[in-house]
Symmetry: C2
Subunit: 354 residues, 2 copies
DNA sequence: GTGAAAGCGCTAACAG
DNA sequence: CTGTTAGCGCTTTCAC
């Protein structure tokens, strides 16, 4: 680890080869380690590398054919806990398989998502992982299918993580979690507790995740023979503020609701805040549940009953699936389970109790 | 956007050149756009690129001399809100300057941090941004200084974001925020409210961030002529669980504490939980403050009084500084201010009030 | 304006 | 086991 006084340029394999009195390929071989090299020469080469403070040039390596060792993941926004935990899974698995992570954000803009995928094509990432809900329209699906094919053609993989498949024949891998089931289970839980007027708060129109959660909500009502007032499904984004504002409005508009199913835990935080301000106790006066089971959910007052989503595992599986696929595995779809976590934010409805 | 039926290989500049009836350099020139090309030829080339669905190979480009257009940022863990918000700033600024982001995590392990910086050297990232507190010991500083020099020599920049300089003469950029000032201000706030026995909860020994916050805590006490009982500074990590466990222990050990200064907002969440379980009201029976001002802080019960840190701006400035520096700017250090945000978790101590 | 030639740093065939 | 010879895809000189 001696200081090299050298000029501005970095040493190359050639320099190392010269210093060690061998040829460039030999240096390359000790670098790769997957080829027999005499212990003596190997030592000399290693020595020279240390002396020159040599580091390979990843780009040259990538060009020359050796694989890129890079996976890309693209999310809406890193600060959302949902994405953050998936990102952690992705990063961990990638690191443990010797891959680097490229991170891109789209801020919910499909145009930017396309642009980003194109960039990843330039980077020749081994896998491009698209995280979170997708836009459920044909134009979008077709364009993305195009990218899936393009990536596939150049030996790369598109992974849809937490979003639905692009259809038969599109070369994309899917790592899903059971939105419908989780939502169904939670709704059934509320229904079983005696609630009959449940508000679903935070429907992002056209977003696959949201649509699936609402489907579970609907099905549970149907299976329990409870008629669902469509006006109880309130549109809104998946943020704290939306939960807050929508709850305020809901409270102003009707007083028969006994439970609120928030589209995400973040939404639920806003709901709880609004209720607290109005002096409405949870769960005595109103039951509140969320979706995601982000760590904060357990720390809220009251601790939030919610649907657990295996975020980290989702991220990990996305990377594994893509890398295994490159090695010839046939699996192209994984669905992880979800389950409800009962804490303190649900009670039977008020009127039934008194 | 027509489908190209081609084999498994990607089209290259040569292919495009052939299809357009020009030479490879010409294609390169329209790609770069920074060189005069006849409108007619440019059109032909553009056309050919579309037809072949051509995308440049970022590695080949990187090799041939054009800059890498990549910044790396390395954090402890993406799921920590502190890091997540800085990450968002970094990513946004990078994207807006046409750069890609490489994300690496270290899980608080210095060894891994060194390994990661080495990897970034291979990648030839334009900037390597190290985020969050650093280990305040000489061996660490020396090794990192070595990397700073190595990066500098190859035209790249090391940026220390939210951590102290490595010393004079080390070619590293620094983007800091005022830990000492924020902590001082908050402590003064508590002292002014009448608190005399304040517990500082969550000291990560040897971590620069933690040390600085405690320094502010000390100074404020000194300036206000209040003697500080060293046993009131409790060691612990910056997590929810630590806040919870330490508070439990604190409560069991002494009953003269009237305010708790949590090392971070996350720690404060744990503190609030423990107090709630014990039936201790905040702020009536105990004042609680945090550090960071993560968005959740405003949603807690009660809303948390805390020190605001400009996370996103920190990330953005880190990228800007590095990129400007490459363009010849002289600045190598930026310090952003912090300030306290008063919400509902502080009140005068109980005994004074009654 | 555009083409021809050369080379970025590395690895993958082949020989020997 | 190791050296020689090519070539990855792109961008640069430098001529024309």
């Amino acid at each position: 680890m001696r200081e090299t006084s050298g000029g501005g340029k970095r040493p190359t394999v050639k320099d190392v080869a010269a210093a060690a009195g061998v040829s460039a390929p030999t240096v390359s071989r000790v670098l790769a380690g997957n080829y027999p090299v005499a212990p003596a020469t190997r030592a000399k080469v290693l020595r020279a590398m240390k002396d020159l403070d040599y580091v390979v040039n990843a780009h040259a390596r990538g060009l020359a054919g050796a694989t890129t060792k890079t996976v890309a993941f693209v999310v809406d926004d890193v600060t959302g806990p949902f994405y953050a935990y998936i990102a952690r899974g992705v990063e961990q698995q990638a690191a443990s398989e010797g891959r680097l992570c490229l991170l891109c954000t789209t801020h919910g803009d499909p145009e930017r998502e396309f642009a980003v995928v194109e960039l990843m094509r330039e980077q020749r990432a081994e896998a491009v992982i698209l995280v979170g809900g997708a836009w459920d329209n044909e134009v979008y699906k077709e364009r993305m299918a195009y990218f899936a094919k393009a990536l596939d053609k150049s030996g790369s993989h598109l992974v849809l993580c937490g979003r639905p498949s692009l259809g038969e024949g599109v070369p994309a891998l899917v790592v899903q979690y059971d939105n419908v089931g989780g939502s169904y289970g939670m709704t059934a839980h509320l229904l079983s507790a005696g609630h009959r007027v449940i508000c679903y708060l935070g429907r992002e129109v056209g977003l696959s995740t949201s649509d699936e959660r609402i489907e579970g909500f609907r099905r549970a009502h149907a299976d329990h023979g409870v008629e669902l007032d469509e006006r109880l499904i309130l549109p809104g984004r998946f943020q704290i503020d939306d939960g807050y504002a929508l709850t305020k409005r809901l409270l102003a508009e009707r007083d028969d609701v006994t439970a609120i199913f928030a589209g995400t835990d973040m939404v639920a935080i806003g709901v709880l805040k609004a209720l607290r301000e109005k002096g409405i106790r949870v769960p005595e006066d109103m039951s509140v549940v969320g979706f995601d089971d982000i760590p904060i959910a357990a720390e809220l007052t009251p601790a939030l009953t919610t649907v657990h989503v295996p975020h980290e595992q989702l991220g990990r599986e996305a990377v594994r699936l893509a890398l295994r696929r490159s090695e010839g595995a046939a699996t192209d779809r994984i669905v992880l389970g979800t389950h409800i976590v009962v804490r303190d934010s649900v009670a039977p409805p008020r009127r039934q109790r008194s």
